[in-house]
């Protein structure tokens, strides 16, 4: 599927990656438009069920990005988040979600170039996985009434 454009849900921390996206924008660093951003106060706020909900509703990929370890605005939010991510990442990998669908990164608000690079890479990796068909809810099946 060469014309497949993946839909990616991105969860960005307000204090870093969200700023990096802004900086990339004002710096005219172009990055692909395939992700829809959900702004969080901290990656520690990210309940793993948000990630699953995104997939469940048909997202082809999910990208979570927050502050570098040690830089958390709330001192330790991302340290706690990291432990959750380790488990969730392992769980999804074991259950057979393609490794290219779920991405994590630490990007500070000054790292516009890293943001651009990771954004491009995330989109390409998800694109390579193809449309998410196995880890989403089935269509409602409205053929009978259509």
């Amino acid at each position: 599927m060469s014309d497949f454009e993946p839909k990616i849900v991105a969860f960005f921390c307000n204090w870093c990656t969200y700023g990096a996206a802004d900086l990339a924008g004002v710096s005219r660093l172009d990055y692909p438009p395939n992700f829809r951003v959900v702004r969080l106060p901290c990656t520690g706020r990210l309940n793993p069920k948000y990630i699953l909900e995104a997939f469940k509703r048909g997202a082809d990929g999910v990208w979570v990005s927050g502050c570098h370890p040690g830089d958390c605005h709330y001192i330790a939010g991302n340290y706690h988040a990291r432990r959750k991510f380790v488990l969730l990442h392992h769980m999804l990998e074991t259950l057979g979600v393609e490794p290219g669908r779920l991405h994590f990164s630490w990007i500070s608000s000054a790292e516009a170039i890293k943001f651009q690079e990771v954004a491009r890479d995330v989109v390409e990796k998800v694109r390579a996985c193809g449309p998410n068909e196995s880890f989403r809810k089935a269509e409602l099946g409205l053929a009978e009434v259509a």
Partner: protein, 318 residues
């Protein structure tokens, strides 16, 4: 080894003592069941109740499940290793005050897997009897004995806490632990393709009735509102949609990470025989590997997800 009768007598004595000495207002234990191969939990509040207490190879539930709802009372619990570990878990997670729970540990040589028993003896069983090592079954014109060793539950085969040494008192003879789980099957699975893995796990849960008995039987599932019952927003659909069912099992397993003591109550409660503990084992292995943490062995331990180390490894994060 102590005989089953002697052990029962000791349990009854310990329960009476706990009531008399004011260590507890109620003792949680097991009483004889109304059908073969079953025991029922008993809330013993008087000395007379204590005489009904038994011990059995069919004690499939985890009595710690009842502790959070009794947290304002002083409770003694007749606990096998996994029950005691769950009680410890509830204390370290601040669900019950340490001073309100008195653990009477009973060394345990494992519980019977009814499915395994059925595969050895498919005929309808009219009556059962047991001692420490043998299950005696009787039916319409037949009788047979099965060695318990052969029909142990899977979690009992890898039990690392057959004698609950952290209990407030231990009755009966100490039994050595089993060889811990080596997760060989999970390692084998890890080499497979994503499609194969997902097909395997989806197949595992396809008969799920979404009754959530696994959750209700679990001593860890004490949330006032479970994520499956949340309605604003509703995270999970309630139909038999494959993905909703799959995500339920995934998240249930995830929520047990670093907390599951492998008691097997979830699997024993499942009416359709889903191996729900497989999801917990995935997390169990990872928590041990990453943070060297085994839940429920120490009253002072700190659950791994309530803490962190600055140098925690996570090389998949860019």
């Amino acid at each position: 080894m102590m005989s089953l009768e002697d052990l029962i007598k000791k349990i009854q004595e310990a329960a009476k003592r706990a009531l008399k000495e004011g260590k507890a207002e109620v003792v949680l234990g097991y009483q004889a069941g109304t059908t073969p191969m079953a025991v029922a939990p008993l809330f013993a509040r008087t000395e007379g109740d204590c005489d009904k207490l038994v011990w059995s190879n069919f004690a499939k539930t985890n009595l710690s499940t009842y502790l959070p709802e009794l947290k304002d009372k002083k409770v003694a619990i007749i606990a096998k290793g996994c029950d005691a570990r769950s009680a410890v878990g509830q204390v370290v997670e601040h669900q019950i005050p340490r001073e309100n729970v008195y653990v009477i540990g009973v060394p345990c040589t494992g519980m019977v897997d009814l499915e395994a028993l059925k595969s050895k003896e498919a005929r309808p069983v009219a009556a059962s009897d047991e001692d420490m090592a043998t299950i005696k079954l009787r039916g319409d014109g037949w009788e047979t004995n099965i060695a318990k060793e052969e029909i142990l539950r899977r979690n009992c085969k890898t039990c690392i806490c057959r004698t609950p040494k952290m209990a407030d008192e231990v009755i009966g003879d100490e039994v050595p632990s089993m060889t811990p789980d080596d997760y060989a099957d999970l390692k084998e699975l890890a080499a497979k393709s994503p499609e194969e893995k997902m097909a395997y796990f989806k197949g595992m849960v396809k008969d799920c009735l979404r009754c959530y008995a696994c959750r209700n039987a679990c001593p860890l599932c004490y949330c006032p509102v479970c994520f499956v019952d949340e309605t604003r927003p509703q995270w999970l659909g309630k139909s038999q949609d494959e993905m909703d069912t799959f995500v339920f099992h995934l998240l249930r397993g995830f929520h047990c990470a670093g907390r599951c003591t492998g008691c097997g109550a979830c699997e024993a409660a499942c009416p359709v025989g889903i191996k729900v503990r497989e999801f917990n084992r995935i997390m169990e292995e990872e928590v041990q590997k990453d943070w060297n943490y085994i839940p429920g062995l120490d009253w002072e331990q700190k659950p791994p997800l309530t803490t962190y180390r600055p140098d925690d490894e996570a090389d998949f994060i860019r």
